[in-house]
Symmetry: D2
Subunit: 336 residues, 4 copies
Amino acid sequence: MVVILKQKAKKEEILTLIQWIKAQGIDVHIVEGTSTTILGLIGDTSLVDEDAIKANDIVANVRRISEPFKAANRKFHPNDTIVDVCGKKIGGGNFQVIAGPCSVESREQINKIAKDVQASGAGLLRGGAFKPRTSPYAFQGLRAEGIEFLIDARKTTGMPIVTEIMSAAHIELFKDVDIIQVGARNMQNFELLKALGTLNKPILLKRGLANTIEEFLMSAEYIMAGGNENIILCERGIRTFETATRNTLDISAIPLLKQLSHLPVVVDPSHAAGITSLVEPLSKAAIAAGADGLIIEVHNDPKHALSDGAQSLTPEQFDHVMNSVKRMVDFEGKTL
Amino acid sequence: MVVILKQKAKKEEILTLIQWIKAQGIDVHIVEGTSTTILGLIGDTSLVDEDAIKANDIVANVRRISEPFKAANRKFHPNDTIVDVCGKKIGGGNFQVIAGPCSVESREQINKIAKDVQASGAGLLRGGAFKPRTSPYAFQGLRAEGIEFLIDARKTTGMPIVTEIMSAAHIELFKDVDIIQVGARNMQNFELLKALGTLNKPILLKRGLANTIEEFLMSAEYIMAGGNENIILCERGIRTFETATRNTLDISAIPLLKQLSHLPVVVDPSHAAGITSLVEPLSKAAIAAGADGLIIEVHNDPKHALSDGAQSLTPEQFDHVMNSVKRMVDFEGKTL
Amino acid sequence: MVVILKQKAKKEEILTLIQWIKAQGIDVHIVEGTSTTILGLIGDTSLVDEDAIKANDIVANVRRISEPFKAANRKFHPNDTIVDVCGKKIGGGNFQVIAGPCSVESREQINKIAKDVQASGAGLLRGGAFKPRTSPYAFQGLRAEGIEFLIDARKTTGMPIVTEIMSAAHIELFKDVDIIQVGARNMQNFELLKALGTLNKPILLKRGLANTIEEFLMSAEYIMAGGNENIILCERGIRTFETATRNTLDISAIPLLKQLSHLPVVVDPSHAAGITSLVEPLSKAAIAAGADGLIIEVHNDPKHALSDGAQSLTPEQFDHVMNSVKRMVDFEGKTL
Amino acid sequence: MVVILKQKAKKEEILTLIQWIKAQGIDVHIVEGTSTTILGLIGDTSLVDEDAIKANDIVANVRRISEPFKAANRKFHPNDTIVDVCGKKIGGGNFQVIAGPCSVESREQINKIAKDVQASGAGLLRGGAFKPRTSPYAFQGLRAEGIEFLIDARKTTGMPIVTEIMSAAHIELFKDVDIIQVGARNMQNFELLKALGTLNKPILLKRGLANTIEEFLMSAEYIMAGGNENIILCERGIRTFETATRNTLDISAIPLLKQLSHLPVVVDPSHAAGITSLVEPLSKAAIAAGADGLIIEVHNDPKHALSDGAQSLTPEQFDHVMNSVKRMVDFEGKTL
């Protein structure tokens, strides 16, 4: 950590600051320049509070040098984490496609789609039971009943199921879910993250719309700090000035996350683009950039879907996309 | 609502779509252009699902014309809402300053700051008991004990207290809090919003870092739809490309929110800028733009604050800012 | 074009507006709703001024339905444009890699790099002679002499040369350049675009840092409206809140631009990421998403480069990237 | 400047780097930490090329400590610059309102508006002769004839005139213009900035849509480095994800620019918001935040304006806004 002092800083004030820092078990080196003095902090600065230092009158700025995340950091865990979901592996050369409707609408619907996407090559089934909707007047999901229908579809197909949680109060309802998804809007719902950290179940953590890569990894760290290290990171587009697509898929996040962390990274091209015709090229790009999996929306009747129909593929379109996906995964030497 | 059809749309497909829309009790007018056909939907379209229409193969785009919020809409509620907190009024010409530390750190600290900010003219006391921190290793707040200390400071000073909730599971702990704050990261934590809608207590709703003004009002609508109409909106800066300030205060949001909604709007210049020297000019600008109140961070010892010291004012600095604030509120003809 | 009227609009005001629109040769259909009236404008609305209509007191909003670009529009020109640069083809299944240093620094340097990148498979040589630098105190390029050195490197290698223009006043100096590049900062330098529209020479148009895909195509339209239809579009990253990368590569722009326009699209992974280790994954992703070419920075001695060393590959690194690029181009069935 | 080295950096590589930096006349202090080594660079680092250092294999990151601008820096020029335009002063407690139409449309129009805005209290007249329009098919301005009409309006009213330049090739046409405006799209048209640096005429420099405050000041520095120190900075809104307003007025930029630089700062509420009803509150907020002037669009017939009618005030609306502006300027103790 580097502390840059203001020009006007007095000798005695600087000494007081240094003593305060040293009292935290951190060593301090002074670099006196012609117009500025900087302090180099040496030791484990992960627990030093930047804000407390910045609050000092004589401090112009503080720069952190080492990453603030540990459990998620590849430096301390060089090998890829492989998340194993009932035998379906994600990461370390293993690739999975998670597919299904935005919302679970009925037992028949989810069973039908599950069979369709499995036939096309999807390994896991997704479907929303609890739905985060911008409007209180929009369909909010079948909730507990939706999870029941997903479990039923798992019985029929053998596919592990992925569904989103919106509150720690619902954890009991998710005990038979295979992967619990944390949506973009809850990426910094820290009370929820802490609760998920106590489980022994894979978590699919989606990046928030306006969250940096560092904040994303810090949210993974929240869960891991609680003891649950089965995290799958999901890039799903960030919010920018561009309105031609629903969000802007941050393709660079894939290789960057893989460099910074050992956790597997999957991509959601459906939510990122919000346009069905972009699902195929974005899926291919994600694989080429190093993704470990995809999560794709498929609905047997998109125009009558109760949510997000605009970005859902029909089973036929999904089958077509899967042909490209399989070829590209194979080209990249990964196992689907 | 206007539905723009694709060029290739066939007569029979258009008729099917129209029938499906009409089945929802909405009337449809057709406008046939040289290259495009558009449908004008007439009636109460607030319950029509845009996504379901967009999912139709022949639909190029859907444009909503009327705002999707109702309870929060000034059109249906022309007079300013005045939120009354134990006699302290916000809105409708009444202005309040809410001040206090980012985190409650001890009984002595919060009592000391409460007296200081009250002496300078603050009407309400803020202080974080539950703290949303990016890092799991940072100070997370005194939690229940922090609320107890706030209540103690209220006893001493008579100031109503404002503090942030992070989970619906904690609502019982907030029963003696005067205003419950929803932080930026939880603006779309819909399960929390629904729970707060069942209370009979003012809610200070902060705008999310990447949320539009419409989404902000829809989150207020979530709480109001549950029956709790005591909402105070809080603009606290949005995330943009500019890094010179912590966030970018969206000053235009103040007059826009006042035009679109009847709810009072307060501004948090401390979090918006993250720089103490900007608190005064931004406070003045907020009042000039029509704000109904301010929420300002004050700490008796910012450099030893356990969170966000960098943006906290000392009581002396706050007293100085309050002189400007009082003059500006008076100039604007409002009552502090 | 759809015009949404305000609720308070009076019959006579509406009639006046309709007459004014009809006077421009546009037909108008009225759709009267319960709370809003909308006007559907029918005919060639590309010359109708949205702002003039919006300025009308009774107008709430105006929505354009058809794209405002024509020459660049795939609707009116379904086949891919193939830009032929001295026999090197870009577009329509033809792929090219443009490589070279950020700045031309000396005759020896550019000749050396040209041979190196050619040996690795690059088809065209890039190098900056006129350099847009944020600081007036930074190296501004060798200017005319830099172009001379590029021409010399073309003699040696036979590679067509690409270099950036910063002012229409310099056009004469570019008469022997094969492709003139318009940089991101000049994407809306309309006087420059108009001047380039009068030439008969390929233009590589880079997307501005904060420009939408529609504005990007409108800038291409500026050049094409002047008669020069040899445009190559270049996605090079947009400015967002994320600071882990220099810019955010908008990967979705590639398939979207290819859907909306017939012009070839190349990608600049070097400027988008600003990190050498991301050049390979982003290059592969770009090809997988449908790009027609790449433009990559290569410097024989990045640490002594006079500009942008941080993102330049060494010739060895470039050779390694080209192995991946060749395989991926081949996989996509394109010709390098 | 602080250089942060990678963990893997070897002793000999570090020494080579230090020697290379020292060869540029900069002293280097080494701070060896447990996991990272940092170098503190001491001396005038404004000419050191960050990119060249970053390109070094062993460098993880480079942080600049002192601002890269000098002529525009308040540190070296503590007193406010006052720009004097034919007796109308801007800065140092002097406030000016610049008003007029987006485009000059005819001699009569500009004369009429000039008299109107002068009667309401505007000190300078603005009007576009050369118009930067997104579409090549939109009205591009009366160009030379427009400037002639502005000069005519100056004769009638005595008001100094402000108009936008789009190319250095047009400078001769601007010889009788009192303030030359550089538009947002040309803020980094460096060839234009250099040309304006050689003039002895005030320049109104608008901030680019996606440019940071530091880049803004560096563009001022370009002009000042050429010898022309009569710069007026103009904040006019930045591009963000929010679409409710045309752009997002960055109100914090006003006090920040005033702290960092001695140059006067004016605000353009018309372009920032794009909504006439926001012009008054944003004008007041700008004054409260410390602005030295305003630039406001006024059109006698906004609905028939040839550009940007949507955001133009009528003379009556402008007169009403000026009443608020005068009171607020007076309240702030400035001279209009």
